[in-house]
């Protein structure tokens, strides 16, 4: 698995002007855990969607290169894209409430993903679906299998989404805030599943997250985005020693369980961050 992104840009024309959501992002990755952090609106989700060619017109995607295992994703026809999206690259979207089908039970939705992936029979698909729900630490898999999306708690819906993606068995998983609604113990267990898929099956993982401590402890490498650009790229373990003032500013905003403060610092933005030369 190898993903290559060179000078990727995404623009959205709107009645009030053009939004340049992603501006010239480059990176390459293999079977590793790549974290993407950055403030709200910095272009993280748009970047993830652009890799999967999920930007709808009038949005425009441009890149000098966007390739998955040598296949040029920008030049790929619809059939090739559909094949890649259904199985080889999967994305967990930021908002489970929007991505689960409200009129289909959770179990059926996972079964569908299982059956798209490998021509499995009904029975086997059901068993796989229940096993997926168990794997994401759902307490009562049989009930949740038969439940409608509106009957799930926030974190259960999120885990159902992850189960659907795992059922597809992707080579590259782009996970957009996949665990923001989970308690920290379940979050850690779900991340351990992804960790094993990277280590044992050679899956590539792009983890988009606001949780800086989580990315620092879980990922191999981090890209820090600001105003559509990557302003800093560093090994995840060194995130807390980041040098860019923006990254430092984000880190300073974090509350500390051992040291509650009367007020938390907030980010003071410097307009230069959006335009400065990058190393």
């Amino acid at each position: 698995m190898r993903l290559e992104v060179e000078k990727l840009s995404v623009r959205f024309p709107t009645p009030t002007g053009v939004v340049e959501a992603v501006r010239g992002v480059s990176f390459a990755m293999g079977a590793e855990k790549l974290g993407i952090v950055g403030e709200s609106g910095s272009g993280k989700s748009t970047l993830g969607r652009a890799i999967l060619r999920l930007i709808a017109p009038p949005g425009e995607v441009r890149a000098e290169r966007l390739a998955f295992d040598g296949t040029d994703l920008l030049a790929a026809d619809r059939r090739t894209l559909r094949r890649i999206r259904g199985g080889r690259i999967a994305m967990v979207l930021q908002d489970p409430k929007f991505s689960l089908n409200p009129v289909m039970t959770v179990g059926r939705q996972i079964e569908e993903a299982v059956r798209v992936h490998g021509r499995t029979g009904r029975r086997e698909a059901r068993e796989r679906a229940l096993a997926m729900l168990e794997a994401v630490r759902i307490r009562d898999p049989a009930r949740v299998y038969g439940a409608w999306p509106h009957e799930l708690s926030g974190g259960m819906g999120q885990r159902a989404m992850i189960a659907i993606m795992l059922a597809a068995g992707p080579e590259l998983l782009i996970a957009d805030e996949p665990t923001s609604a989970l308690d920290v113990t379940v979050q850690m267990q779900v991340l351990a599943i992804l960790d094993d898929l990277v280590a044992e099956r050679g899956m590539g993982l792009v983890l988009i997250s606001h949780d800086l401590d989580l990315v620092a402890s879980f990922c191999d490498r981090v890209l820090v985005m600001y105003a559509g650009r990557v302003v800093e790229s560093l090994p995840a373990g060194e995130l807390h020693q980041a040098t860019h003032p923006y990254t430092r500013g984000l880190l300073a905003c974090l509350p500390d369980i051992a040291r509650p403060r009367r007020r938390l610092p907030v980010l003071e933005r410097d307009p230069a961050w959006a335009t400065e030369e990058l190393p």
Binding site: G38, E177, L182, M188, A192, S217
Partner: protein, 258 residues
Amino acid sequence: MIRVAGLEVGFGHGRRRVHAVQNVSFTVPEGASYGLVGESGSGKTTALRAIAALVPPAAGRIEVDGRQVAARPDRAFRKKVQMVFQDPYGSLHPRHTVDRILREPCRIHGLGDIDGRIGHMLAEVGLGPAFRFRFPHQLSGGQRQRVAIARALILEPRVLLLDEPTSALDVSVQAEILNLLGDLRAARGLTFLFVSHNLAVVAQMCERVAVMMNGRVVEEADAGQLAAGALAHPYARQLLQASRGYDRELARSLVRFE
């Protein structure tokens, strides 16, 4: 201000019955901020909804401001108790402007000087007049959450039920919203019931916290105990450990308590 005793809430019937909240009791004094943390699916949102009279309790007692919460509460109760929902994307009407989102509750409750109130409320949550006629999709996640908080506060409630108000937000906006909530609580003497998965956020915002698991409260602690990591229940201890960041070995050793 809030007194919950022996609360039970269930969904469905017979074999499919889900006991979402089981024998939950806690008390939140006026002006205090009380945290609810715990397992996903453990009944935190359901407990909040029961207090707001959005779901009926199967058993137990809920009192707000010294009066038992009725199955169909009156307007005065609705005005007094407001909820900020878990999902900032879904909780604002997509085709209503910010102005209309704030105007409607004022109209329903027959408040005077609605225009003045809206302008004032927007300023209080840090949104200038430029935001007043925007639609939700024209706002960032943090701005949307400010609108949700403004909508809850415009009726001048005394109790705010906050369901993960910052989990969808970046850390800078989270800091802004937490500061704002702290300031508003101090200025207006509000009482908070605050659900979060982030223990550091709870330590920052709450004086006391209950840890929930599988429909029950398994431990209650004060902020000092939480900050010192002095929790006793094995599940609560596991939560504390897991909140220190990802650790593959720890993930392997986590157990599920029944």
